[in-house]
């Protein structure tokens, strides 16, 4: 199998890489580009730890081929803060102690950001269902949901 040359945009930067035809986007991000913030918890789309945005759509990067990124736009956890300024969701996760071990946190943040972009004022139930594809084994979700709803409120106020 010869490698495929891919040109794509990752976190607003034009990026080129070579990958095998059967290589997942997650493996490309982690092993070829050094973007290890996206995690592999299952490799089967069940845990959400590898969540990224692909052309504005929330996907499990373990279920996308690296070659599929050609000509498209990828956003990962590494692009979420602006320099030293954390995204309100990142800040609220810290303030609410919404992480214990932190392995699921990047996936939750990417998924929660996607939620708030579509639904700036979600109910608790909507947030719980939107995030049902992200597994967390440490927190019981309580503080995660509080952080997401609090971030939503702050972002609405900031307009």
């Amino acid at each position: 199998m010869s490698a495929i040359h891919v040109t794509t945009t990752i976190n607003d930067e034009t990026t080129e890489f070579l990958c095998a035809p059967d290589e997942t986007l997650l493996d490309v991000l982690r092993d070829r580009l050094g973007l290890t913030g996206s995690k592999e918890g299952c490799g089967s789309g069940d845990c959400g730890a590898c969540s990224v945005m692909l052309d504005g759509r929330l996907v499990c990067s373990c279920l996308v081929l690296g070659a599929e990124a050609e000509g498209r736009t990828v956003a990962t956890i590494e692009g979420m803060a602006s320099g030293e300024t954390l995204h309100p969701l990142q800040r609220k996760f810290l303030e609410h102690a919404a992480l214990q071990c932190g392995i699921c946190t990047p996936g939750f943040l990417v998924a929660a950001k996607a939620l708030l972009e579509r639904h700036p004022d979600p109910t608790e139930e909507e947030a719980r269902y939107w995030l049902a594809g992200n597994l967390c084994r440490c927190t019981g979700y309580d503080k995660i949901i509080r952080a997401v709803l609090d971030a939503a409120a702050e972002m609405r106020e900031a307009g």
Binding site: A20, R30, D31, L35, T36, G37, S38, K39, E40, G41, C42, G43, S44, D46, C47, A49, T76, I77, E78, M80, A81, L86, Q90, F93, L94, E95, H96, A97, L99, Q100, C101, G102, I103, C104, T105, P106, L109, E125, A127, R128, Y129, L131, A132, G133, N134, L135, C136, R137, C138, T139, G140, Y141, D142, K143, I144, I145, R146
Partner: protein, 749 residues
Amino acid sequence: MALDSKADTGKRHFKVVGTRPLRPDGVDKVTGRARFGADMSAPGMLVGLILRSPHPHARIRVIDTTRARALPGVHAVVTRADFATVDDAALADLLDNCMAGEKALYDGHAVAAVAAASGAVARQALDLIEVDYEPLPFVTDVDEAMKPDAPALHPGRANETVPPGLSANVMARHEFGHGDIEAGLAAADRVLERSYRTGATHQGYIEPHACLASVGPDGKADLWCCTQGHYMVRNTCAAILGMEQGSLRVTASEIGGGFGGKTTVFLEPVALMLSRKAGRPVKMVMSRSEVFRATGPTASTSIDVRIGMTKDGRITAGFAELRYQGGAYPGSPVDMGSMSAFAPYDLEHVKTIGWDVVTNRPKQAAYRAPGAPMAAFAVESAIDELARGFGLDPLEVRLKNAAREGTRASYGPTFPAIGLEATLRAAKDHPHWSAPLGPNQGRGVACGFWFNFGGDTCVSLNITPDGTVTLSEGNPDIGGSRASMSMMAAEELGIPYDKVRTIIADTGSLGQNDVTDGSRVTFAVGLATIEAARAAKREMCKRAAQVWGIEADAVIWENGAVRPAGPNAGKHPPMTLAEIAAIASNTGGPIAGHCEVNAEGAGVSFGTHIADIELDPETGTVRILRYTVFQDAGKAVHPDYVEGQFQGGAVQGIGWALNEEYIYGDDGRLQNAGFLDYRIPVASDLPMIDTVILEIPNPGHPYGVRGVGETPIVPPLAAVANAVSHAAGIRLTHLPISPPRLLAAIREK
């Protein structure tokens, strides 16, 4: 070793402890910067993969690795033949679990490993390894395994506690208790006899096991891995590989959950052996299916209980016989299940018998209060049934029988100050207990206990020249412990929290530190941190006294500065920590405090949970409506993370009660080795988990701290089952109460 008297805890006013600062590793973990097990790489790194047995039980006749070794890109192939024989029985079992010897003992058991230039080549190489198996009869169920004619895994290995004539799979018998059970039962108005079963669950940490091993030609090695205890990894791997412990430096990565499942080794000795053979660094990362098939789930159990109660709710005697299968090797946590089963109660007559049983399943590992949740499920279910049968309030019955200070525990010791009664009273007074319920809804309550642990601990607290503080500890931060350590150091030194940076040191930098287990870290590492800070303060007092030309005992430490102690010491303005640090070089050199201790005095922990559920009689689905945790924390250092332990433990217990279980097919293979089919609770399954922190100081810790991490998983199994039983009008005795199981029970009614 208690550093302080009990009196100190009562009057103390904390400035930092008890507040909720941001965790110091937080920014790294919300930006993707934190490096977990699989996030490390090295120049020249190879990919290591493991070949696993498809048979639940098979003799390994021959392993032919010729074709795999000949494949271009393959740098090493390892089988058991590469490892020397290990004498110690427990260590030999560990090695055998990491790489099968004469027999494969469960579906997923490692039989060979390869290191290759890429994952693709490594996968190809695994396909080229030829293993000649002789399949053997197998057994995966605990009660089946105890039958005298059951297929035997390790004939002749039973220890001396096992009476003759039993199945060869029974490895040990444990007995605890006091009094005369029959006499106690005779005094009861009703004796309830029930049998209970629980499925095997997995810790379900989201991060699969991963490591990066590099062995140099001089035999010196470095290992990076996600573990709950890198000193344990060092000691275990060194023994298995015949290395000196000093030659192997282990660095703990950030750890993506463990819950007990990362208190042993699986990949690490294999990665080191592959690296030694290949002469290159080797990285190994498990797939999720490997995590389920071949790491350490908990025991499945079968438990018989006999409890006698008077009609006014006094328990006259408690007896339980517990059978735990711990997978393919001895050492199920039935001993701790037997010790903890009746621990919440003050009983004159109590006895437990525990049977440790092996089956063709992966070797169990610790899972949060190992052994206790299943035992509590049985006992707390039976007490609930008796109380309701007499028309008594199940909370009142528990209060009437609760263990208190001075109670002789069912497992032997006499309790010092404990918090069970406080959690029960708080539960009784909480609005949750008296809130109305609707149709198909039920409420359950249950108590739980865990021993807690201290253990070997070594920390180093260094004062930098600019007056900031670095604290090195040797226990991976699994849920905010860096924050707690920084807080205790800041509290003791009288400096702001953000002036302390806590790091997790590698095994070359500190003395032995026991594994992050037994809810020990905030207690034991905290205790060592406080003592190290005190040692540094003593040194700083000495330095200031030296500058002032007075005796060291003529000064005191107060609010982060040294001051003269009384008018006789002369008039000197206070010297702050930063001022003393700045002149350290001229007053004798760097300033540091250390503590090396085998920490004793970890106070036992109790909790009470209330669960409200609603069941759907059409589908058998159970929904958690409301849930409240009451637990004694001794002293909550960082209340956010104490609440987080309560919430996370409760939800793991809810999963155990309702959904989670290892399902083996008739072929002896695990049927649900993935998160789709082994379903852990997700956000939409749950309500908020309310928490009430009680603080009954532990006399064994200078600030009164007790471990909090494990107890929260003990009550939920019974709390949920009692709630479902109440709503359904049937007693549910078999976990998980999955929809098909509940539906069948409702239809049988």
